[in-house]
């Protein structure tokens, strides 16, 4: 029997998900042994034309990482959806926009103005030259993809079968998912989050928790924290209560607050709303003025709470003001 076919793709992403796949170490040889890898731009020299030439639904499994940021990302997402029987949104960007989704806090115009005109590293662009989707020169014409105003998650543009969260997904979890699929066991219901838990990051965190009553929040550089006590108890804004478990609490074990990359836990749709709820419950103040002065200490709530999930949050983007 022919080996099942596997495709991997990166859309708007940093390449960390690809590294995470390789971080399963020598088990990558098992993957290569069990699957016929038919498309993997970062590692193998297949072209889009090769994918277009495949029959629909001929690819058994597609692991798709990266958010949808431009017309090329979207085109390949639609193409792979047509070719793949099972398509997995792999990593935070594909699931919920990820770090690129923070671009939804501003506009395409402002991003371009900064990158191609105002940033200190732009030495001279006095003519105001900006990338064009179509340009003609003596050698011929070129087309480049069109950047979108709003970054999207994969499931906002195509039908997604499963989700594997994380920035990046942890290698042991990736192997667990691959092993499960290879085992031939019946697949879980469509829409299931694979390679993660059903609780919150706090559930995996080894730090001791006490009853929380907070009058002061600190930014990490402002305080030397006790390595054994809950970071939130110490006034550090930690995303643990609004984040799905599955990473093994890597960050808090390294004395860094959870940044929320595993996305919202089950039954939560919006990490920012959940953090507002969680922090409001532990702020120790009843007077409006005192409440406001404590809230002042929480710097950049939007960028902190939605660091990975802005594009997939309830409101999805900041309105142009």
């Amino acid at each position: 029997m022919a080996k099942p076919k596997l495709a991997l793709y990166w859309a708007a992403s940093c390449g960390g998900c690809e590294i995470a796949v390789l971080d399963i170490h020598e088990k990558i040889l098992d993957v290569a042994g069990a699957f016929d890898i038919v498309f993997w731009p970062v590692a193998l020299d297949f072209k889009y034309a090769d994918v277009r030439a495949m029959q629909d639904k001929s690819v058994d499994l597609c692991l798709f990482n990266g958010s949808i940021r431009n017309s090329e990302n979207a085109e390949i997402a639609h193409l792979l959806r047509a070719k793949a029987k099972t398509l997995v949104a792999f990593g935070s960007c594909a699931l919920e926009g990820g770090i690129p989704g923070l671009a939804n806090m501003t506009t395409k115009d402002d991003i371009w103005k900064w990158v191609y005109k105002d940033s200190p590293s732009t030495v001279s662009n006095n003519g105001g030259t900006f990338p064009q989707t179509h340009s003609t020169m003596s050698e011929g014409a070129i087309e480049i993809p069109e950047m979108w105003e709003t970054v999207k998650s994969l499931d906002q543009i195509i039908d997604v079968d499963y989700y594997v969260p994380g920035c990046p997904p942890q290698p042991d979890q990736i192997w667990g998912v691959i092993e499960y699929i290879l085992s031939g066991k019946p697949l879980p219901p469509k829409g299931t989050v694979l390679g993660a838990g059903e609780k919150t990051c706090c559930d995996e965190c080894p730090r001791e928790r006490a009853e929380k009553k907070l009058k002061k929040f600190y930014r990490p550089f402002e305080i030397e924290t006790d390595p054994n006590k809950c970071l939130l108890d110490q006034g550090i804004v930690c995303m643990g209560p609004a984040t799905r478990d599955g990473c093994g609490a890597l960050c808090t074990k390294a004395n860094v607050p959870c940044r929320g990359c595993y996305g919202p836990p089950p039954n939560v749709i919006d990490q920012g709303a959940k953090m507002v709820s969680a922090l409001s419950s532990i702020i120790d103040a009843h007077e409006p003025e005192e409440i406001e002065s404590i809230l002042d200490q929480i710097v950049d709530p939007l960028g902190t709470f939605y660091r990975f999930s802005l594009a997939h949050s309830i409101l999805r983007r900041v309105e142009k003001l």
């Binding site: 709003t150 906002q156 939560v268 749709i269 919006d270 920012g272 709303a273 959940k274 507002v276 709820s277 922090l279 409001s280 419950s281 702020i283 103040a285 009843h286 409006p288 409440i291 406001e292 809230l295 709530p301 939007l302 709470f305 949050s313 309830i314 409101l315 999805r316 983007r317 900041v318 309105e319 142009k320 003001l321």
Partner: protein, 146 residues
């Protein structure tokens, strides 16, 4: 057609919902713009409910609960008193005028106050105009698609 604000009101079962009821049985006139959703406590109003209301086209959201000290669950409204100002900051970050979200305490005996607050909020939203968000268009596409 003149703009009629759509306002979602989350009213606690024990005080404000009863207060709204009293306004009704007392035949006190008030603006019909608030669509009331009864919750067991203002502290039960998950911030996600409020964001969802804006996502689905509300021009304003008003949360009403028992006066401080009167909460049927002792301290539910003390959570609300911290949550709403926090959420105002968050929606402002999203580019929504924080005046579109309001918290008021209305007891079971304050039918007149309920009517007053509803009228005031309706006027405020009328002055601010309709809320348009990029997500509204996307949600419509989504509905049309499915």
């Amino acid at each position: 057609m003149a703009f009629e604000p759509k306002i979602i009101g989350f009213l606690c079962n024990w005080c404000s919902y009863t207060g709204a009821d009293l306004a009704g049985v007392s035949r006190i006139k008030s603006a019909p713009n608030v669509r009331v959703i009864r919750t067991m406590c203002s502290g039960r109003v998950d911030p996600a409910f409020i964001l969802k209301a804006f996502q689905l086209g509300a021009d304003g959201v008003i949360v009403m609960g028992c006066h401080l000290g009167d909460c049927h669950y002792q301290e539910g409204n003390y959570k609300t008193i911290r949550r709403i100002p926090f959420l105002k900051r968050l929606i402002q970050g999203f580019g929504i005028d924080p005046r579109r979200l309001r918290l008021e305490w209305v007891s079971a005996s304050e039918g007149d106050r309920f009517a007053h607050v509803v009228n005031e909020m309706t006027e405020q939203i009328r002055n601010l105009g309709p809320l348009t968000l990029a997500v509204h268009g996307e949600m419509q596409q989504h509905v049309a698609h499915h």
